[in-house]
Symmetry: D2
């Protein structure tokens, strides 16, 4: 058995129910590329959650984000985002490469983009020498483990709309935000006016697969071509679809996120009890904290995790659907020993 750590929810395995669903869907032939009953069923689950929408399954989060932006832009456009955004920091320039667009970004203290951050980038609209803003992209929950309230999203969507912009949400960890806010994903996404959502699965118990959920129907017409040309059309689609069906049909996605959020709360309490400074509000499944430099390395030998900001000894710990209380107790015990030295 592989050891559990706090490096990333991508390091966790696949939930047993997902694994079983994969096995159950095996056997016999299905039409490839999505024209199969598993895909129809999974899409139906999305419509139950979001109301009317178009759904396209892709392989991974970078694919979901980049193709979403592609559907919303022309190459002379710009995308406005936080400087911590995955699309800006962690996708090796794929958004610029594939959409042709410029990314306009802002430093934020907590990973959350404000209206004022967006406004700064709008002065060049209509002036052909500047890339033309067309999309605001926010991450829910953010890369800093914080969560936009429903009102904040509604306000951003309204501001975007009023300024001729579209709103994209990178929801690689959307489940954690839904659970944290205790609202439905429809209230958070459909009803606030989001245009496209990248809906994550892999970080919360699936094996692979991400869904592009298009709430603005005008953006859906050509998406099948964008997906195929974007190298994100799975041949044996049923194996993505059946995962999403199982993930959504009776709340497994919320159960998993609920658990990882709770574990993050526990972890936060434990390390704060040890006098450790936690640098961000713990609203989803991540904890950011400052550790003494020498403790970091020693702790990493026991539990793998990443240093977030070397200059100030800030580290990131991520809880997963399979993190258990023992993991946290052991972690806290070891950390205590290191800090006591």
């Amino acid at each position: 058995m592989n050891k559990r750590g706090f490096a990333s929810d991508n390091n966790a395995g696949v939930h047993p129910r997902i694994m079983k669903a994969l096995a159950d869907a095996n056997g016999g032939h299905c039409i490839a590329y999505g024209d199969d009953p598993y895909t129809a069923a999974a899409k139906e689950q999305f419509r139950k959650l979001f109301g009317e929408c178009d759904v396209f399954f892709v392989f991974n989060g970078t694919g979901a984000n980049v193709l979403s932006l592609q559907a919303m832009t022309q190459p002379f456009n710009a995308v406005i985002c936080a400087d911590t955004a995955h699309i800006h920091v962690d996708e090796c320039g794929a958004p610029e490469r594939f959409t042709g667009c410029k990314l306009l970004f802002n430093p934020t203290t907590d990973g959350k983009l404000r209206i004022s951050d967006i406004k700064r980038h709008l002065h060049g609209i209509g002036f052909e020498h500047h890339a033309q803003p067309r999309v605001v992209s926010i991450t829910q929950s953010t890369e800093m483990g914080t969560v936009y309230t429903v009102d904040e999203i509604r306000e951003i969507a309204a501001f975007a709309y009023a300024n001729g912009l579209l709103l994209h949400v990178d929801g690689a960890r959307i489940a954690n935000a839904v659970v944290y806010l205790g609202v439905s994903v429809k209230e958070m996404i459909t009803d606030t006016g989001v245009d496209i959502l990248s809906f994550g699965g892999a970080k919360n118990g699936m094996m692979y697969g991400e869904a592009v959920v298009i709430l603005n129907p005008a953006l859906a017409a050509n998406f099948k071509y964008i997906r195929k040309q974007g190298m994100q059309l799975a041949s044996k689609m049923r194996y993505i679809s059946v995962q999403f069906d199982e993930y959504l049909k009776d709340g497994l996605w919320l159960e998993n996120a609920s658990h990882s959020n709770r574990m993050a709360q526990l972890l936060c309490q434990e390390v704060q009890a040890l006098g450790v400074t936690v640098t961000q509000k713990v609203e989803a499944n991540e904890v950011f904290a400052i550790l003494p430099a020498q403790a970091i390395e020693a702790l990493q030998r026991e539990f793998f995790f990443y240093v977030w900001d070397e200059s100030r000894c800030e580290v990131r710990w991520v809880c997963s659907w399979d993190t258990d209380e023992d993991d946290i107790e052991r972690f806290a015990a070891i950390l205590k020993k290191l800090l006591d030295n």
Copy 2:
């Protein structure tokens, strides 16, 4: 249980041994993105088969082909291929879109590119008004179910090398060719001078995953960036890797291909016995044949398959790792009835 047909080897399910390997790899945490023991083991399997090489796992065949070409070209280059090539016909223009290159192609009778087909496109070399040929891309086994001999590949590789070109092989069905020729993949690919091979898995019993096998080490240095920017880096990599490990480690890939080739032979014999004209040599797992127009539709109601060339009533039947003799007997029986009417 889903019904089996002859539409595509992409329609078949996952081999039980692959399914079991996925389940066995589940549990606990693994470092994401490929720095895990499953990936190391799978790469080792590739090196056992090919000798020294660099291997990068990606999600699908289009991804493997496009990223391979990206690693071999600059945007002002051209890629020479057969007009039946998957990269030309079936990838929605992804190669042009992502590499920036022009595709130069030729009609062929059997899906196999000849030296003379390549030569036609070389006259503009050095002349800046023309896209500059840089890669020859062939498919093994071809989209027409035929197979290049080892000598043919060696000859193309030598010609390419002599003309400053690189050789890419789209091996979505490489296993079927290896089995047909009865040679090792090293003799067929490494020793002939192929530069990069797209090595397929999904069409022959895997769930998802394709490998880019780089034989020319000069092309490997930047591939990790190309893969990430190309949206083809899996987060939970272990689940691709463990499939490849199982697929390769004691010959499952050859077993499966051997079976589907044999089924195609059987199918060919059965339909020829009914007087049906088979239009291509059956060397891999595909049978191309001419049917009376009215028989096609009726037959499709029983067994799903595609019409290849409407204008001459040519159809394509593909056998899979899970096709069985009963499928073929039933198919032949129904076809017989339709032809007898």
Copy 3:
């Protein structure tokens, strides 16, 4: 004084009236990038010729063609053209590179695309595995010196429209076609249903500059961004505009083309009188002919020109606005001597 030849109308100089207009526009300051009175005047000339239209000046023909296609397509589209098209053969893959689109082309005998050539490429519409045809691009006059009739253009435009396609005309030598047919450019282009025309200037007496004439207003909205991002926005725009104003305002463009067409007719007669086979109808300013291999090189030492098809000793001669009868007499005399040997 540089010697005149028959290699290309691009080799000719600038008409004295254009040169004088440039000098006259010099002095003092003008707002850069097109917001100046010269540009307004030149656009007005275009509207006089074409009726209501949007006009954008760019640097060169490749720029005009590529940006026109960019305005008409999304990256998953395809452009249908003749295999002799400049966009296919002579732009180093710029159309694919910048639009992301695939070019679908056909051999033709005379450079003219027929409805049947277009039809062949439409079978994949709606099927996401194939690049989606969106534009038909024809060249008027063609690269083979032939001219589409007004009826032929109208028929292609209607067919395109009926099939959801747009029509682009590469008019690098549009003036020669207008003169040949004896119709107005409005009858030929606006009234037939062309969507965008690349209107050439440099091959017919201008120094540099090409105009993108957008007849379909839906395609104009974003063109200013496409031009700027496409690196084709001139800072000192007045110097392109004043050329176009002079070129168009009282028929200089037709005079020049009329002359070069007439010279091509004369050249054709002279060489035919020597027994030389002319391989294409001479409708514009180009003559294609077969010469004995040994005569070609000797003739090239006296007059520079290009071999078109080495395999059959076909050469191309282009007449320019400044070709004179003496040039042709001298040329014919030398050719006669070479053929007599």
Copy 4:
């Protein structure tokens, strides 16, 4: 005669000597696309100035910058620049669109990038999730009218080299910097270790045309294809080349820049004498200053110029090769009146 203003050196006309050179080069035929004696002569002028180098003429500054970056990068690379850089602010996203690269930028106080600004962006090198820094791009003289010293450029080049980066200089106003520093362009560019320079002409008395000067020979091999595919190859090349020949051959470029620099000094003194705050060192041909809001509009009615930073009433005035002392006296007189009110 068009009125002179202080909006941009792009608004000025063409120097009479350049105009005469254009007229002198007219007449007769020249091989198109650069294989002509004017181009050979102009390239020779560049080699006299820079020492051994490859030179490619293009149409405009955006073209020169984008193609230079294209020659230095692969799509997964990043380019580091100041946040005032023309490539970042004023090219409508063309660098991202055409190279595929991400731009990494920093705020600066004076348009000059420091080593510490570059360092901040290097932490992700070798980590595939991040775009890989490959080029540092600086502007000389900067968009803020300041000038890098030779030592500063040498230091940046050395730092770049030590970190596996290349150095690009956007020299749209390189002449103004050469004159200001009183060094040769060879000392400033070749000897410091610059890899590619965009050498401007249009802002300093030419009609159109920019030169890409490649000092690092490894970057030159494919540039002719990059230029053609990049839509920047002029057909009637002689008319760019002859301008450069005249511009360079006996110092016209330095004379013009010397004059515009001197006019900027004069303008600076005049407005400072009126109590106006000048916000940047005046080292080249630009003056940045703070004016009372109500004075700006009134002044713009007499002399066209741009507001640089609306939020603090900062304006930009640019002097040109044809600005004269009278212009400045009149300007200062009007400004005085406005300020006195």
